[in-house]
Every structure is written in structure tokens, then in C-alpha cells.
Amino acid sequence: MTEYLNAYTLLVLILILIGLYCLISKRNMIKMIIGIEILSKGVTLNFIATGYGGIAQALVIVVIVIDVVIVAIALSLIVNAYTHHGVINLKKLKRLRG
């Protein structure tokens, strides 16, 4: 297990933890998206750090593209939620609860 313990892995761990913390603690949806992005950047870095050769790089490019798509869709949802309800705070959107 010791072979995993290097600077890259440490940075990956830090990024993932920051992302998770952000998702758990923040109520603002924009901030949560930033959290998702940090989380996914951690995962991406993990790929780069541990994988070698063409397949890892190709996968990373795909992940980045999907990230962008996620952000685009999530932002459009947020904009819509804001135009309909005037808030971007999750606590105040809780009446959507099923």
C-alpha cells in the first residue's frame, strides 16, 4: 500500500476531500457545483497520476468533456430554479421534496 503514498496521491486526496466537504456543507447551489468540479478534478488528477499511456489520457479527455456537460446542465437547472423561485439556496427549495 505504501507505493500509493506520494505527492500526487496526497494532492488527489486533498482535492476529493475539499470537494466532498463543499458538497456536504454548502447550501448555495453554485458553490455545490464548484464542489463537484473540484471533486472531479481530483479524480482526473488521480487518472493522470496512476495511469500511463494513451488510454488514460483519452479517458481523461472524455472525463473533462463530460464535466463540462454536467456543469452546463446543472447551471441551466440553477438558472431555471432561480427564475421560477427567486432563490438558489437549497434549504429554501425544500418544498419540492416528494
Binding site: 500500500m1 505504501t2 466532498l20 458538497l23 456536504i24 456543507s25 454548502k26 416528494g98
Partner: protein, 628 residues
């Protein structure tokens, strides 16, 4: 025989039935005459076969349909089938002509396309039923005629009585039909063939033992008594009189009810050696003719009276069939022809009277003799033929049955048939008296029908008068198509004629007494032991009540099973245990779904950590162990 006869036999009525609504849509006034044209063409095709059969051919044709299972459209035309096909098409034609005027008033309320379409379908199915040689095809057309009967009994669909009568007819005949199907399948299982002629050949050459034919034989009898309205499945025919009168004449007097007798006569060579088979037919016929003749004596509804009379006369055919191939088959067929003619005539006359008077009860009629002169005479022709008065058709055909009974030593059947002939004479005279002669205080408005309705009456009247003289012509047909039939001549015949004349004299004497002492007799029917007999007879000897009790019991049992098992057990398990349990479980887990994203996120993270630990558990254990 015309070219393409077999194709035309099927095509003309069935295509006509399909086209009638179309014609009715574009030319509403022409649809009746279109149906007349179709019926006439069918009649021409069937008549064109006569010379072939007369010259001793039995035309046959097989259209291979599904040979692997023996389901082929096979035609086999002999004298018996041709006779029934002729009755179906010619009486069918006359009835359709009669209907053009008779049903005219119903055009507005009930679309007549349905009526003519069903009548043509019926004629086509009946012709195919009697000309086919394949039992499965026969069963197929057997069901089609049953369907037409049901639909036409319930023709006045907004009358609950008619709708119920149609249902009753359908359900009652269904009992027989189910048995017939079982019989056909069992027979196929035993002989590996659906072709009647093949089976007959196998039985006659002795390649198949008849010892195992008891079950299919009984099933065929049950099928026949369902269709031909014999006891105990006769209850549907009197109620079927809710149909329009031409339908009663065509389906419930002249053709469809003969299908059962036809079946018996057709399969007789197969089952003739089965023990008690003929005796069972004879007993059913004998019991039926007596009971229904008594019911006809006390009936006051004109059409129901004729229906009871039909059942009674059909019982004569059954009884005659029980005398075996040599003497029974021909006397039965001959009476079938004569009865079909005069009973159709009587029903059409009754239709004209009811149409004019506006009621079916004979209590609303009376003194119609001078108001409906032509109808009166035609009814007299039909009634005399029914009562067996010289020289009308019924005299000759009944004498032949009596003589056949004596020749084959069925003396008890002879006595029953002769006594029923006396009852027949009595109820016929009573009917004539009540409708035409009885003096009334008030006047009944009535008039003869128009010429279109009278022409079929005249043709059938001439038939009722003269058909009795064509006995030997018909015999020639039968002997020429490989049937070993004979007519009885000599001593037995003279005894029968003597018996008929005696019955006639006694009948007229009793009737004279009845007319002069009618009030006394009516009083007698309301007191003492005669009153219970009277009420038994007028209640149909409680057959209906018995069936209601039986079906009521069945329904109650079914309802109990439904409540106890279906609702009590199945529903409770499915709805309450399975579905209810799932809902309750869901309610419990519902609290976990907070809708709070951060809360869910915590769950996800915990889950992810657990999965990570699980994946790395071996490595961690290794690491810790290695550390030690």
C-alpha cells in the same frame, strides 16, 4: 348440375348476406328484393342438383383444407341432404318474399339489413350443413345456424322478453352442441376420420368394432335433441316464438329444428348396432310427442301452440327414426318434408293473423272466418295436413309412420303415436275454432294481407295438399342414392289407415262435445284433480321451473365459492398481504428520504468510504500484519 355448383352453393347466400347491408345503405327500398334474388338463386342452384340425384349419382367434391387433421370441405350430396337443402332454400325463398311485406313496418325502428342478412346467412349455412360430409364442417355450420337463430329470436332487441328468449335458446341448445362436439371428437379418436361416409364404410365392412360407440352415440343423440327441441332440452322453442313470424316459420318450424333429426338419420348407419341407441331415440320421441301435445291442448298463445305442435311433430320424426334404416329413415324423411311445408304454412298464416289482429293470444281472436277469407282457407289446409286428414300430406306421412311401427313390431310406439295423433287433431280443431269460428260479443278488426304475403301462402298450401301423393317419387330418390329403404305396404298399411280414420272420427266427436259444452269444460279445468293437471300442462310440466331451480342452485353455489374462495382467500392474500405489506414497508422507509441534498451527500460519502474500505480491506490487513 350447374358448373361450379359447389362454389355457388356457398358463395351466393354468404356473399348475399355480406352485401345486404351495403345494398340497404345505398338503396334502402331494394334490400328486401335483393335478399329475394339471392334466395332465389340459391334455390335454383340446389334445384339444379335434382336430376343428378334422380339418375342415381351422389355428387361429391373435396376441397382439401387441412388434410393433416382431416378438416376438409367435403360435399356429399345424396337424397337425404338434398331434401333438406331443397326445404331450406325453397321455404327460405318463400319466407323472404313474405318478409318483404311483413317486416315493412319495422324498417324505421329496426334496420332490416340485419334481418335479411341473417336470413341469407342462415339459408347458406343450412344448405352447407346438410350437404357436407365432414363432421367438423357440419359442426361449424351447425353453430352458424344456432347463431342465426339466437340473433333472430332476439331481433326486437329492445324487448327484454325477446332478448331473454334468444339467450335461453342459445344456452339450451349449447348444452346439446357441447355434447355433439364431444361426440365428434370421440368418434374421430376411435375411427381416425371425420368423413361420415368413410366411417359408415368402415363400420359396414366390419373393420371397426361398434362396441365402443356407446359414448359418441349418446353424445350425438344429446346434440340432436338440443337442436330439435326434444325433451328434456325442448324448453327453448316455445320461448323462441318472440321472433318475427317468418323466422318462426323458417328456422323454428321448417329447417333448423330439423337439423337434429337430419343428424340422427345421417349417422344412423354408424350407430345402428349400438345397443339401445334406436330405443333411446324412440323413447325420447314418444315421451316428447305426448307431453308437448298435451301442452298444446291448453295453450292460448297462437304461436306457442304452434311451437308445441312443432316439438310434437319433430318427436314423430325421432320416433320414426327409431325404426331403423329400412323402414324408419324414409318415413321420417317423408314426414319431415310434409311437416316442414305445412308448419311453415301455419306459421306464415299465424303471422298474417297476428299482424292483422295485433295480438298473439287466441282470446283476442275469434270470428275471423269471413274477414280473412284467403288466410282462413290456407290455415285450414295447414291444419288439416297437421291433423292428418285425408287427402292432405300429413295423412300419408303419418300413416307411413304408423305402418312402419307395426312392421317393425314397435306396438307400444304405435299406440303412443296414434294417441298423439288424436291429441293433434283435437288441438288443431280447437285452434281453428278459437281463431276463426268462435262467436264474440265485440267485433275484431281484421283483413287479409296483401298479395305479396298471400303468394307464399298459396304455394305452401298447394304443397300441404299435394305433397302426400309424391311418396313414391321421393322413395325413388332415396333408393337411387344407395339407401336401402322401403315403404310398408299390405296389411300393416291398411291397419294404419283404419286407425287414422278411427282417430279422425273419435276426434271430431270429442270436438263436437267440446264446442257444445265449452263452458262446462272450462269450469272443470278450474276444479278438483283436473285443475292440477291443467295447471301442470299450462306451466309446461314444470320443466322451466326445474331448470330455474337447477341453475339457481348452480348460481348460488358459484356465488358461495366466489365469496369464500375468490374474495375471502385469493383477494385477501393478493391485496391485503402482498400489496398491503409492500405499502406498509414503503411507509416505514419513507422517513429516510428527507429531500435534503447535503444529507444525501453525507450518505453517499459514507457509502463511498465503506466501499473503499471493503476494496482495500485485504491490503489494510496485509499492511497491519506486515507491520507486526
Amino acid at each position: 348440375m350447374l358448373p361450379y355448383t359447389y362454389l355457388l352453393l356457398i358463395a351466393i347466400p354468404f356473399i348475399g348476406a355480406a352485401l345486404t347491408p351495403l345494398v340497404g345503405h345505398f338503396f334502402p327500398r331494394a334490400k328486401g328484393w335483393f335478399a329475394v334474388a339471392c334466395a332465389a338463386l340459391s334455390a335454383v342452384v340446389v334445384v339444379s342438383i335434382i336430376p343428378d340425384v334422380w339418375n342415381g349419382y351422389t355428387p361429391g367434391y373435396t376441397y382439401l383444407w387441412n388434410d393433416a387433421i382431416g378438416l376438409n370441405l367435403t360435399f356429399y350430396i345424396d337424397a337425404l341432404g338434398l331434401l333438406l337443402a331443397l326445404i331450406a332454400t325453397i321455404i327460405g325463398l318463400l319466407v323472404v318474399i313474405y318478409s318483404v311485406k311483413y317486416m315493412e313496418t319495422d324498417e324505421k325502428k329496426y334496420n332490416l339489413s340485419r334481418y335479411y342478412s341473417l336470413v341469407l346467412l342462415f339459408i347458406g349455412a343450412m344448405v352447407c350443413l346438410v350437404l357436407t360430409d365432414n363432421l367438423l364442417v357440419l359442426y361449424f355450420f351447425w353453430e352458424i345456424v344456432g347463431l342465426c337463430s339466437y340473433a333472430l329470436i332476439g331481433y326486437y332487441y329492445d324487448d327484454p322478453k325477446a332478448a331473454k328468449a334468444g339467450m335461453k335458446a342459445f344456452v339450451t341448445t349449447r348444452v346439446g352442441d357441447a355434447f355433439l362436439l364431444i361426440g365428434i371428437i370421440v368418434l374421430y379418436w376411435q375411427t381416425k376420420s371425420f368423413n361420415i361416409q368413410e366411417i359408415i364404410l368402415a363400420v359396414e365392412t366390419g373393420s371397426i368394432s361398434v362396441s365402443s360407440f356407446a359414448l359418441p352415440g349418446a353424445c350425438f343423440i344429446l346434440g340432436a335433441i338440443g337442436k330439435s327441441a326434444q325433451i328434456p332440452l325442448h324448453v327453448w322453442l316455445p320461448d323462441a316464438m318472440e321472433a318475427p313470424s317468418p323466422i318462426s316459420a323458417l328456422i323454428h318450424a321448417a329447417t333448423m329444428v330439423n337439423a337434429g333429426i337430419y343428424l340422427i338419420l345421417r349417422v344412423m348407419p354408424i350407430f345402428i348396432d349400438v345397443q339401445y341407441w334406436l330405443l333411446a331415440i324412440g323413447i325420447i320421441g314418444g315421451v316428447t310427442m305426448l307431453i308437448t301435445a298435451i301442452q298444446a291442448l291448453v295453450e292460448i298463445d297462437l304461436k306457442r301452440l304452434l311451437a308445441y305442435s312443432t316439438i310434437s311433430q319433430l318427436a314423430y320424426l325421432m320416433l320414426a327414426a327409431s325404426f331403423g334404416v329400412t323402414y324408419g329413415l324414409f318415413s321420417s324423411s317423408f314426414h319431415l318434408l310434409v311437416h316442414g311445408t305445412f308448419k311453415a304454412l301455419l306459421f306464415l298464416c299465424a303471422g298474417a293473423i297476428i299482424h292483422s289482429v295485433g295480438s298473439r293470444s287466441m282470446m283476442d281472436m275469434g270470428g275471423l272466418k269471413n274477414k280473412m277469407r284467403y288466410t282462413f282457407w290456407m290455415t285450414m289446409f295447414g291444419a288439416f295436413a297437421l291433423a292428418g286428414i285425408f287427402p292432405f300430406g300429413g295423412f300419408w306421412s303419418k300413416d307411413l309412420i304408423f305402418a312402419s311401427a307395426l312392421k317393425t313390431s314397435h306396438y307400444l310406439f304405435f299406440i303412443v303415436a296414434a294417441f298423439t295423433a288424436l291429441l293433434t287433431l283435437l288441438y288443431t280443431l280447437r285452434m281453428i275454432y278459437l281463431v276463426f269460428y268462435r262467436k264474440r260479443d265485440d267485433e275484431v278488426e281484421a283483413h287479409d294481407p296483401s298479395i305479396i304475403m298471400l303468394v307464399p301462402l298459396f304455394i305452401l298450401g298447394i304443397g300441404a295438399l299435394t305433397l302426400g301423393f309424391f311418396e313414391h317419387t321421393l322413395l325413388h330418390f332415396f333408393t337411387n342414392s344407395n339407401m336401402h329403404v322401403e315403404v310398408v305396404e299390405g296389411l300393416e298399411y291398411f291397419i294404419s289407415v283404419g286407425a287414422s280414420i278411427t282417430i279422425m272420427v273419435i276426434g271430431f266427436l270429442i270436438f263436437r262435445y267440446y264446442v257444445h259444452n265449452r263452458d262446462k269444460l272450462i269450469a272443470l279445468s278450474k276444479s278438483g284433480i283436473t285443475s292440477s293437471l291443467y295447471s301442470a300442462a299450462s306451466n309446461g310440466f314444470y320443466f322451466d321451473r326445474f331448470y330455474l331451480w337447477l341453475i339457481g342452485g348452480l348460481l348460488a353455489t358459484g356465488r358461495t365459492v366466489y365469496h369464500k374462495f375468490d374474495i375471502g382467500a385469493t383477494d385477501r392474500f393478493c391485496y391485503e398481504t402482498v400489496a398491503g405489506g409492500t405499502i406498509k414497508l414503503g411507509q416505514k422507509f419513507r422517513h429516510a428520504q428527507t429531500g435534503d441534498l447535503n444529507y444525501n451527500m453525507v450518505g453517499i460519502v459514507i457509502g463511498a468510504i465503506l466501499v473503499t474500505i471493503l476494496i482495500f480491506l485485504p491490503s489494510i490487513i496485509d499492511f497491519l500484519m506486515g507491520g507486526v
